[in-house]
């Protein structure tokens, strides 16, 4: 059913640390690899002139003009936030889009999806992409086929993006449990919601980049003030007058 289950006992989700993400795209690749083998994520013309494909996780890079400090680069992974009041769920006409009552994961039942695309329209975060080959909607499953998978070693029972992240910028856990590692991270670091005014109440949280101190003067700075001497100096003076 596309009715939302109401407050769920567990709220499984991700906490993404924008301070440590280096934008290496390993999470993008790991996600694509795992889910391509699982639910299938097609590519169109992957080695041709105009490649395109379905991804459940994308990493943007932004530069930030900081008013009282040096400019900063922030790498920004974007995937499904597994919202409490997920607008993508209630708009679905077939019941294919649903939120699990037991852990809050938002999923698509592809066997019921008609590929109308309305859920992707309803999502403010661009978390859903229609698979051009299969004609059904794809989204982050929080690797539901890993996190409960007892055939995997325990260390691997977390989402592929989290498992692969080389800088530990991605954390997985229960955000309904105030004692969980992820909840503590959110509390310590001021984790925040994306576009809270959209009323989606996302589960996933982002940890803000730490503010950098004032930049050191460049070691090359003295070279910027070179005074030409000799013939070059004479030329400089003469040409300056012309």
């Amino acid at each position: 059913m596309t009715a939302l289950p109401g407050p769920t006992e567990k709220r499984l989700g991700l906490v993404i640390d924008l301070d440590t993400c280096v934008g290496c795209q390993a999470c993008v690749t790991a996600c694509k690899g795992w889910n391509d083998a699982g639910i299938g994520l097609s590519d169109q013309d992957p080695y041709g002139a105009d490649p395109a494909g379905t991804f459940l996780n994308r990493v943007h890079s932004y530069q930030i003009a900081v008013p009282d400090g040096p400019a900063q680069v922030v790498n920004f992974p974007r995937s499904c936030l597994h919202c409490d009041t997920a607008p993508c769920v209630t708009v679905c006409p077939t019941g294919a889009s649903y939120k699990r009552a037991e852990d809050g994961i938002v999923l698509v039942n592809e066997d019921a999806c008609i590929g109308c695309g309305l859920c992707a329209w309803a999502c403010p975060y661009g978390a859903r992409e229609m698979d051009a080959a299969q004609g059904v909607m794809k989204k982050c499953t929080l690797c539901v086929d890993r996190i409960y998978n007892e055939t995997l070693p325990e260390a691997d029972r977390e989402p592929a993006c989290v498992r692969t992240c080389p800088t530990n910028a991605r954390h997985f856990g229960d955000l309904a449990d105030p004692e969980s590692k992820v909840s503590k991270l959110v509390a310590d670091r001021g984790g925040y919601d994306l576009m809270p005014e959209m009323g989606t109440r996302p589960t996933n949280k982002y940890l803000p980049p730490r503010k950098k101190g004032p930049g050191d003067a460049s070691p090359l700075a003295p070279l910027l003030d070179v005074k030409a001497t000799g013939i070059a100096g004479w030329l400089d003076r003469m040409l300056g007058k012309v």
């Binding site: 930030i64 003009a65 922030v74 920004f76 708009v91 006409p93 329209w121 994306l194 503010k211």
Partner: protein, 290 residues
């Protein structure tokens, strides 16, 4: 938003069809025999053609029947119910008109009202979407209903159809005015989308991907906005002014036909704009705004 021809045709044709069916159901014309067959056929033809066009928009239409299951939450599911119920209830009314069976007009009035409910549910599919600020406004259903009523009144040759056609122009102008301000009013920027305003002013350094994807094709559509001002004038002239003027001339049935065709062309132009000008907040991640 990508102005897909299937969706534009769907909302324009079914809007006009259900608008006309509303007038036929309420007994504005009460035709008999062959005339009834042709008029009801036109209403059903437009409505069904629109609904069929909509199925071309589906990636996986074999599950289409499942769209009737989620009417409790989904406007698209409600629309499926409203449209099918309307067509089912009005079918005996149409047969009664054609064969003179004398079915009570009350049935037609119920069906006619449901036809307008159908148009309302279509509009709510768009109006409910908060992530597209231009659509998320009460003027969206008002605009869809105005088109349906004006088109229906034109096709059924009501003397006051020109008034409704001019009302369409007024509502279009109002929806463009509120729509142009809607995105800024919603207050979302790249800063709020990423939460990075807490540091400073963000701008795109590297795109997340250099190739296209579903999001960019479907929701970050920019082609065509260039001609928006011109298309708005065309939409106003064709959907409203021209058919209103033609209906005032003593041209009889031909006048009605010409006015209806022009009105439909104007509706298509207005619907193209409805999609092409609508901006989705996901564009903010890609630097589509600010």
């Amino acid at each position: 938003m990508h102005p897909a021809p299937s969706v534009i045709l769907f909302s324009a044709l079914s809007g006009l069809g259900f608008g006309f069916l509303a007038f036929l159901g309420w007994g504005a014309l009460q035709p008999e025999g062959l005339a009834a067959f042709l008029l009801w056929g036109l209403g059903y033809g437009l409505a069904v053609a629109g609904l069929l066009a909509a199925t071309f928009h589906l990636g996986n239409p074999k599950n289409a029947l499942k769209a009737f299951t989620q009417w409790r939450t989904s406007w698209l599911s409600r629309e499926a119910w409203a449209s099918v119920t309307t067509l089912a209830i009005l079918a005996p009314v149409a047969l009664s008109d054609i064969f003179g069976l004398g079915l009570p007009r009350l049935v037609g009035q119920v069906g006619g009202t449901l036809a307008l409910v159908t148009v309302f549910t279509t509009a709510m599919i768009y109006a409910q979407i908060k992530a597209v600020p231009r659509w998320h406004h009460w003027l969206t259903p008002v605009m869809f209903l105005a088109f349906a009523l004006a088109g229906g009144a034109t096709l059924s040759g009501r003397v006051w159809a020109p008034v409704l056609l001019l009302a369409v122009a007024a509502i279009l102008l109002a929806s463009w005015k509120t729509g142009d301000e809607a995105f800024a009013k919603a207050g979302q920027t790249m800063g709020t989308a990423t939460g990075l305003t807490r540091l400073g002013l963000p701008s795109v350094l590297d795109p997340a991907h250099t190739a296209g994807n579903y999001l960019k094709r479907e929701m970050i559509f920019v082609v065509g906005r260039k001609h928006a001002a011109k298309l708005r004038r065309i939409a106003l002239a064709l959907a409203s002014a021209a058919p209103a003027a033609i209906l005032l001339l003593p041209l009889g049935l031909w006048g009605i036909a010409l006015a209806a065709v022009l009105h439909l062309a104007g509706t298509l132009a207005a619907r193209w704009l409805f999609f092409a000008e609508a901006e989705h907040v996901v564009g903010l991640y890609y630097g589509a705004r600010g």
